[in-house]
């Protein structure tokens, strides 16, 4: 009878305890795996949220504001800028693609962005269904927005004034959906795109109506303006040079989303680190719990193991049996934990994509699994060390007491 068959027999004999150890271990492993995935994928998701936007230029103000408003689309715009001058300042051979952004309306709180088809080039986005707009009042819907709003190619809708629901509806200007974008994982997924001319027309009409209500003559059409311009650049050198160059002008601010978010991250790093630390602490507590359940499952075997010493077994043979038991439990916990992660990962990924537009991989990599297996192995050896030593040194006399 080998140590392995004996260890298996001992486990089978106390299968309830073994099962709890495996269950606790599997949950801990799944939790540690989740922390590892989050650590790796969340920074990627933040980067993904910028799409291909390397640079954003807007009216003079805070760079971070520009990024939050015109790349991530989470804050309100601070003003507008003349489009011709902005295009001039961005007229550089270092720019790969650029597009204006004009904000002002929404449909059920989803922002309607006036722009040019070049925006798709900046974001490296593709039309999944239908086609890009070719005329005014045609709209292309971001993947998540289309899903949330239930819009499909051929549908029509009416935008309302402002960036959140409840503003005055522009019922004279119904949009027709001509295309749906493929998901990008960026802010673009949560937008409705149309021609910039459409936004200008609707707003001029709105201002004219206001003037009419006040008995004033209709205002002249304003010069073309935009909330911001977004661009992708050809090289990292451009990313260092262009913002400085543009910031030197008195009228515009320029920001690189990656830099701004990195700056913001540095500011909130203690909080982020605290959150990661809490996550790791939680995982550590879970791992220790599993180790303690494993240790107590093995400690229950002390009598069995000491009995083998009565029959002549060497202390190291008993220690080996205890270690094998620990390793079997750890291996089962690892398989259980990974199975849990792989079972939950697809629905988790789908939920993140649907709810937050995050296109991240929540599946563990082979590196993750190897790292976790090594950690589990060390934890199992450590957890079974004490019962193993105890078994090896157990007082035979105590065991033999009736």
């Amino acid at each position: 009878m080998t140590s392995l068959t004996l260890a298996t027999a001992f486990l089978r004999r106390r299968w309830g305890q073994a099962l709890s150890a495996v269950f606790a271990g599997a949950l801990s492993i799944a939790l540690v795996q989740a922390v590892m995935i989050a650590e790796r994928e969340l920074p990627k998701a933040a980067e993904q949220a910028f799409g291909g936007v390397d640079l954003v230029v807007g009216p003079k103000g805070s760079g971070l504001d520009l990024v939050l408003c015109c790349v991530l689309h989470v804050t309100d715009p601070r003003g507008i800028m003349p489009l011709a001058a902005a295009e001039e300042v961005m007229n550089s051979p270092m720019i790969k693609a650029k597009a204006p952004i004009a904000l002002g309306d929404n449909y059920h709180s989803v922002r309607i962005v006036g722009t040019t088809p070049d925006l798709l080039q900046v974001y490296k986005a593709q039309v999944a269904q239908g086609q890009i707009w070719t005329k005014d009042l045609q709209a292309v819907i971001g993947a998540q927005a289309a899903r949330d709003l239930g819009l499909k190619v051929g549908d029509t809708f009416v935008g309302s004034h402002g960036l959140v629901e409840g503003g005055e509806e522009h019922s004279e200007f119904p949009y027709t959906v001509t295309g749906i974008l493929a998901p990008t994982g960026s802010g673009l997924d949560r937008l409705i795109l149309s021609s910039i001319q459409t936004v200008w027309t609707i707003h001029h009409h709105h201002e004219s109506e206001d003037a009419e209500e006040q008995g004033l003559p209709p205002p002249p059409a304003p010069p073309p303006a935009a909330t911001a311009m977004v661009a992708s650049v050809k090289s990292p050198v451009a990313l260092a040079a262009l913002p400085r160059q543009i910031e030197a002008s008195e009228r515009f601010s320029a920001a690189a989303p990656a830099f701004e978010i990195a700056r913001l991250s540095r500011a909130v790093r203690p909080v982020a680190q605290a959150l990661v630390a809490i996550g790791l602490l939680f995982a550590l507590v879970a791992a220790l719990t599993a180790a303690s359940v494993l240790a107590s499952a093995l400690a229950a075997r002390t009598r069995d193991l000491a009995l083998l010493r009565v029959l002549g077994a060497h202390p190291w043979e008993l220690a080996l049996i205890a270690q094998i038991e620990g390793l079997i439990l750890a291996a089962l916990a690892l398989v259980g934990g990974e199975a849990l992660v792989w079972a939950l990962a697809p629905s988790m990924a789908a939920m993140l994509a649907e709810r937050d537009g995050l296109l991240i991989s929540v599946l563990p990599t082979s590196g993750d699994i190897l790292l976790l297996a090594a950690g589990t192995l060390i934890a199992a050896v450590a957890a079974s060390l004490f019962p193993a030593l105890k078994a090896g040194n157990a007082s035979i006399e105590t065991v033999l007491s009736p």
């Binding site: 004996l6 069995d304 009995l307 029959l311 002549g312 077994a313 006399e397 033999l400 009736p402």
Partner: protein, 216 residues
């Protein structure tokens, strides 16, 4: 060199670190039986533990098959016990996670010996437990478990079988049956038999009786 199966001389056992009781000297050859008697608490089990290499004596010599187990290192003493001493306990102490047959196999492997399948089969047949070989000890009756314990003690052809109060919980018929079984199997296997007991039924069935004496 002493080639008796077991030889005990000047044995003093201790309790709480102090000398407590003495056992008369004795020597046993193959097939001979001895009852170690004395009142309850007179140190019979402690003396057996000393002979089995489990609890050190305060004084005295114990030689089994020519070797003093207390001259060996703890791990070598464990191996020696597994090989040359067959133990039968009052509460059997079978390994309850494995089958009857595996309990017998374990006695050999734990002692560092290659299990002799034919001998194990023969012992099981001799003791009437062959049909029970796949059962776990927890499912056996007391009598069946007792026979498994005896079989296990005999697997490695020990020089001595040491049995602690083997009949204390048995009625007359079973007690006499077990005694006969222990005597016969010890003789068949060339082992000496030492029984600690205060049971009159046992003392009538052995070759010699020695009595523990509590020290004043």
């Amino acid at each position: 060199m002493n080639t008796h199966n077991i030889s005990v001389g000047g044995l003093v056992v201790e309790r709480g670190g102090k000398p407590f009781a003495t056992a008369p000297d004795f020597t046993l050859e193959a097939g001979q039986t001895l009852a170690l008697t004395g009142a309850s608490g007179a140190g019979k089990s402690t003396a057996l533990m000393a002979m089995a290499g489990i609890r050190p004596p305060h004084l005295g010599s114990i030689v089994i098959n020519g070797i003093d187990p207390w001259s060996l290192s703890p791990s070598k003493r464990d191996r020696f016990r597994g090989h040359f001493i067959g133990l039968v306990f009052q509460t059997f102490h079978l390994v309850d996670a494995v089958s009857v047959e595996a309990n017998l196999t374990l006695a050999a492997t734990c002692a560092g010996l290659k299990p002799d399948a034919a001998r194990i089969k023969g012992l099981m047949e001799r003791l009437g437990i062959y049909e029970l070989r796949r059962r776990l000890p927890g499912s056996l009756s007391q009598g069946q478990a007792q026979r498994v314990a005896v079989a296990r003690a005999l697997v490695n052809k020990p020089a001595v079988i040491i049995a602690d109060e083997p009949t204390s919980a048995l009625d007359d018929a079973n007690a006499l049956g077990l005694l006969a079984l222990l005597r016969e199997t010890a003789q068949e296997n060339g082992a000496a038999l030492v029984l600690a007991t205060h049971d009159g039924r046992v003392t009538q069935a052995v070759d010699r009786i020695v009595t523990m004496e509590v020290m004043q």
